[in-house]
Symmetry: D2
């Protein structure tokens, strides 16, 4: 497979979609990004990396961090209690329509439906905080090591901006706390959650750092982060829950495990082959990058690769 040629063709195909979305505007720090950006990277399981467009430009990872915090909690847990521990506090089912998020949390006694909706990610962050003592810094260190980029950093302006507009996440956290589903104080959990979301990474950084998902759990240095079945399971959760309320549609169109963020990035996995990351800030109504989804769709069409 000539990855570089495929990426060039994918980029050409995705270009017309770039301006169709809307840049996230709920915080000023994200709103400033130009809608014209487009980049894509592929990291194969042998360490080779390919890229096109703005693939080395850092952007805000936002919810893509949720895939890494889940992996870190599962990695930290399997020594002691197995991966079952976190799954008592968060489900593995898709979440249905957004307007149901709170009623489901209420109806299901403060147990979020899955780790990739905000409520679920707050629980995972809370657990990571307990396990590591610092849920955001431990993630940053992991991402630096896996990506091989020691310059990765939090974006304080983004984290502060999130906190200023963080009433909805505070509501979710207090609500779960009222059911006894948080171990740490609400303000601490929210703060680490916002720091995780604020990390800046490029398509290259993310495709490389997510390599363990394509390598059945092996880290960049060959050591084992997760059991093969654990990596497989994170991929399963990404496929069923990774793209907000469009997971079914995304599976239908693209057919790959993926996790998106409102910064416009999407990370996707072809198990046993490669990890992809695409970035374009214009979002559709459900919060997924329009050009990013079109690019992944075209990538699977050109390569014939899909999990189905």
């Amino acid at each position: 497979m000539d990855y570089q040629a495929v990426l060039e063709e994918v980029a050409a195909h995705a270009r017309p979609f770039v301006r169709q979305g809307r840049v996230a505007d709920y915080i000023p720090a994200l709103e400033r990004v130009s809608v014209d950006r487009f980049g894509m990277a592929v990291a194969d399981i042998h360490g080779a990396v390919y890229g096109v467009g703005d693939w080395e430009v850092p952007f805000s990872v936002q919810s893509i961090s949720k895939a890494f915090s889940l992996a870190l909690v599962m990695a930290q847990s399997h020594g002691s209690q197995g991966d079952g521990d976190i799954w008592k506090r968060v489900g593995r089912e898709p979440s249905g329509t957004p307007f149901n998020s709170l009623v489901q949390l209420e109806a299901e006694n403060g147990i979020p439906r899955n780790p990739f909706i905000n409520a679920g990610a707050l629980v995972v962050t809370d657990r990571l905080q307990t396990l590591t003592g610092d849920a955001s810094t431990s993630m940053l260190h992991f991402l630096r090591e896996e990506s091989g980029n020691p310059h990765l950093a939090f974006d304080q302006a983004v984290a502060d901006s999130e906190a200023e507009h963080g009433d909805r996440n505070a509501a979710l956290a207090h609500f779960m706390a009222s059911f006894g589903n948080l171990e740490n104080p609400v303000p601490s959990v929210i703060e680490h959650y916002f720091w995780q979301c604020s990390i800046e990474m490029s398509c290259r950084d993310l495709a490389v750092a997510g390599g363990f998902l394509a390598r059945h759990g092996l880290r960049a240095d060959g050591s084992r982060l997760l059991e093969a079945r654990e990596a497989k399971r994170i991929n399963a959760v990404m496929l069923t829950c990774g793209t907000y309320d469009a997971a079914g549609e995304f599976a239908y169109r693209v057919g790959l495990p993926a996790k998106s963020g409102v910064g416009g990035g999407i990370i996707a996995v072809i198990p046993g082959r490669c990890t992809l990351c695409v970035w374009s800030p214009g979002l559709d109504a459900r919060g997924n990058s329009v050009a990013g989804a079109a690019a992944l769709d075209h990538f699977t069409t050109l390569t014939g690769w899909s999990v189905f």
Copy 2:
């Protein structure tokens, strides 16, 4: 009407119901109250007061305070913007089942259904805070003046205890703040709300202090707190929304405007005649005093007074 004789008979009738309910146990300060208590007072519109049982024993007013904060906001508002102001931020419709509270808040863009559910009372407290600069102390002063009891006070243990177990109210407040429906900082609104709930009053104090609702808006000293139509409207909201999710049932059985609290108190109004307050800490599944409801039911049967 020989109020004293009626009260004696009502107390005898209600006595068997006293032990049927459960004392609120979500905070220790309430849990300690003996389930055996029962008291009832009637204050007629001419200033006479009658009582039976523990009618002079102070208890925690809890949600009964919501009727007074609404009255104070309406009283403070009619000079300037009319009573329409607060009604842009809170509705006047019954709230349906409890499990819907959050989904309704979500579906209706952060506008609570009525001022007597917690979310609505937080909005009213927020408004009172803006209007007076101190939503809890201004209410305390008003209650002292109207009841003629200068010893009324907050119960700090109760307020602290509420705050410790206040995650659900914090969730509601942050959620409404995310829709822009709070004027003051969340922690300040919650704090004043808890202080209001913690005020200790007896049946006598409450029946006398609520006299303006039976006197079509006139205060104890004869001055006007509310227009007649404003007092009538608070009574209407009490009838349709004043007893949690049992308002329809309460109207069916008792047929009087009323506001209950989880401390076991219920205040009720017979417009143009008198204001009643009954107290017994045992609650039914919906949070209303079992013996209190039975007493009011029997009172209306004996007197033939009802609004219908």
Copy 3:
């Protein structure tokens, strides 16, 4: 009280509101009615009747029939099992927002919240069918007797039209049947329900026929239809649930027990004094007559009569 003078003034006041609403258009038979109509009648408890405008023009009673079917079921039941029977199958609580109707029915195991939402009225009709063998004809006969108008009749075009557009009511009925909450076959219950709604009556007819609600349960001929407490309880349910999702607002503005229909009629009760009926086909967004509500509001302002 000079009722005639009051009615004239109320009609003048309501006139500007007549064209503000929209005529119900979900079935052709209702759509054809002119929006310009306005009529109002008062029947006092001594048998005198007063009217203004189109007060003698028949219109489709629609949901106003729900108040009469409830009364007939209560009247038929008290000999045997007391009024408790029907209340095991339908609640007495306001229904919250319309979008919740089905989820509440689902969450509450097929028990509708109250007898005045469609689901609840289907249960009441089902019960009346069991008690009388013919739920629609028995109601028609009752209305002829009470109104003194032997010419009252069903409007077949309306009943047929309802049936043609009756999928939503069929859905509700089948759903309740799946919970075992219907005694008769779904098609039979729906048919009688539509016949009841199709009855044509004037303001005069309705005000006179509803006199028993103001006379504490006594029929036009002085015989007893309901116990006084039963009549009082129907009034309570009308106040808390009688005007669709606007019951709280209606209680706030008007302060009278009332039942409205999408034909544009509203019946209202001043217990111990009189029964009112107003008609104007233009509806607000919640299905209540705009000019009708304005007229009742002004009537209470002029007379000072309200239940609060």
Copy 4:
């Protein structure tokens, strides 16, 4: 891969789970089946078939038929309007919790979330009825041809029994009809839907008949039923929506596209390799076969095959 050896080992592993579930009892015809049954078959893409236990015993396919009706509608549609047609009337997203089914249908204007919940399957059946003139017989003929078993038949007792207890499906159908989302009369759609569910097939029949899903759309005779991307997309919908409200959990544990039925059958696909069918009538709380899920889980563990 020695399929036969794998099946024997899987059967031994699944045996202890056989009695853990409960046989569906909502209709007598299903209730009669012994909980002790267990069978499993694998049909590889080259035509070989392997089986273990009760793999040749017919059982009621129930909701497994939903996968075939979707395939038939997609196959019939691509000549004219492409597969887009049906997707305007039914979504592709997982459905969230069961208790939300009706509120989602209401909130989303009568468009079911996906073709594998009952509401969605009714829409697909309605479309198949329009396309073929006989939605149940056309499916039966297709299954006979693909399975090579000319004796496949409807079970009239099951179809009649479903119809007798069919109020909930009638409610869904009428509700969608009220939004204009049915092309054929409600009774006709429901009848064909029940006939489809009543078809009796063995594990062998189903594994063979579902071969086109593993063969990227090719039928047993080598002709094309679906485009490769259409087959891939049905697999995607099976993975995200095929096992009722446990789709996320099933993807997490098993990692294969699958469709289950309350008869205890589950069909699963390993694209490019084989189609599996397992049957054991004991169900878990969400309606999936307990031993069937355990068998598929163990099959993927032994073979290392998963889509992730």
